[in-house]
């Protein structure tokens, strides 16, 4: 997983899987990488081949952290599989999904 700051956003990419074994570390690494200046978290899920309910839980957790500081979480270029699961669980209504 790659985390770096891009102006006022925290950019997260290279996430091969978001499952029960990786969700905890995913959330913790974002939490520790977050600085007061960050108003956005951009989650690039273009390489995420697998997402399960624990992964969804981690996404919600990140969303709550940002909501408490009035920030925004965006999901960038999710794979078809990830997109389908987000839609199936109606989480596409919570996250801003960006395609570029």
């Amino acid at each position: 997983m790659n985390i770096h700051t891009n102006e006022n956003s925290l950019h997260v990419s290279e996430v091969p899987e978001l499952n029960a074994t990786t969700a905890g570390a995913f959330r913790d690494q974002i939490k520790s990488g977050l600085q007061p200046s960050h108003t956005h978290i951009d989650l690039d899920l273009s390489q995420t081949k697998f997402l399960d309910s624990s992964g969804l839980g981690a996404l919600i957790s990140v969303h709550k952290i940002m909501s408490s500081r009035k920030g925004v979480v965006r999901i960038i270029n999710p794979t078809t599989q990830v997109q389908q699961i987000l839609e199936l669980t109606r989480m596409h209504r919570i996250f801003e999904i960006v395609r570029n």
Binding site: T21, D52, T89
Partner: protein, 502 residues
Amino acid sequence: MSTLTSSPGRLMRIECPCDLAATREATRSIHLFLSQLGVPEDELAAWELIAAEAGNNAVEYAAGDALKQPVELAIEVTPTHIELRVFDHSPGFDLPEVIELPDPMSEGGRGLFLMSTLSNSIEYLRGRKQNCLIIRKVRAVPKEVVETQSNALEVATLESTLQCMTEELAASYESLSAIFRFTSELNRGGGGAEFTERWLNELRERGGADWFVLRLTGGSNSSISVNCTSRPDLSLPVLKLNAPEGSPLPAEAQAAINRFDVWFGLESPLAENDPLCLIGSPLSGFVHPIFVGSELEGVMAVGRYTNTQAFNAGQVNIIHTISDFLGIQLRNARIQEDYLRGRLVTRELEIAATIQRSLLPVQLPEPPGFCLAGHSQSASKVGGDFYDVLPVGEHGLLCIIADVMGKGVPAAMFAAIFRSHVRSRPDLAHRPGLFLEWLNAVLFQDLDRVEMFITAQLAFVDLRTRRLSVSSAGHCPLIVGAPGSDIREISMEERCYYLNEV
């Protein structure tokens, strides 16, 4: 498309430790297994997710001892549906009648929703020691069938599908009738090597195979060896199931380890070092792992002396059914054999116990001024130890204690022989040392032949003088005590000891 509709039923079982990483790995194997069976991409993704959620559930609800027990995943693919069963040993959970999405801000609780949305039915069977989550999904009708129904080619496809179904039905009938005959033969006292061979030849004939090799674990987890083959002229080696990494695993070991059928032929040739290559070339066929419950019983390899003609669905069905049924019978035969062996050992121990009991004196002599008592308690069910007290003339008493090394019938028998020898020479009783020397001379050869030995102690009491003469052959020291003095061991240097008045 044709592969999908004519595929025979296939099953894979995976047993893994109760942790999240292991169940995730198992779901990857399920993905691979389904993709090898030609399941389309969208169904694959759904099943990988369903299996992952079911596996996570099994681990997350486990606590205490349940964490030490494995989680088992079994997936069955038939032309019409796919079914996943996940067995866990957790206390279980209540499956709600209606599975709904949790609050949008909830960080958990979407697993069941995903499983139920992606499948057609979900059931949770709770048992005292084990629970089973069953998820079933009807397979999608291939698009081509829907789109070109009026097409003549499609009609042919449908006909071929129908033929496959008829074939499967006929195969099911044949399998069932074979099982009935199997069972009635077993009831007439069948079994053993001849029975296995006859049935495997039947399997070869009905399954349309040219050759077969049945390997069994024989209760071992690390290797499988040939039990019966149509090629007894070949010496097929024992296969280890933990081959070093890097070297290609033989097809039979692969099937045993990965728990699914391994096919070989023109498209997927056998590895050069595969023992099945000894059977001939070209060669095609498959290896079917035989499980009883979740335990591997063996593997059945069947094939033809050609690398092009694959088995049809009906033949595969017959081979699977007969192999699995034979596996159960062989397991039962092994259990029965173990049981009989256990019964024999128990019987032998009972005989030995009877011998041992008969060696102990029923009543001890009661010379005036003396009081004698004895008690024997064996460490295990039967030992080779005994004691005896013999009156010698009018004024003598010989006390004997001995222990034959080992347990069971041989030890009890040597104890009986020793006792007879002691009783045969009352003339030596008053000189215990000499007596033991004589006993050693007469028994040594027999004992030495079976690598056994006896430890013994003789104590002669002169009732008039109260003089005790003791001799020991490797036995525990004699302990003496008297009113007003300490309890102590008699050393062999003392030669003799005088008993105080009781």
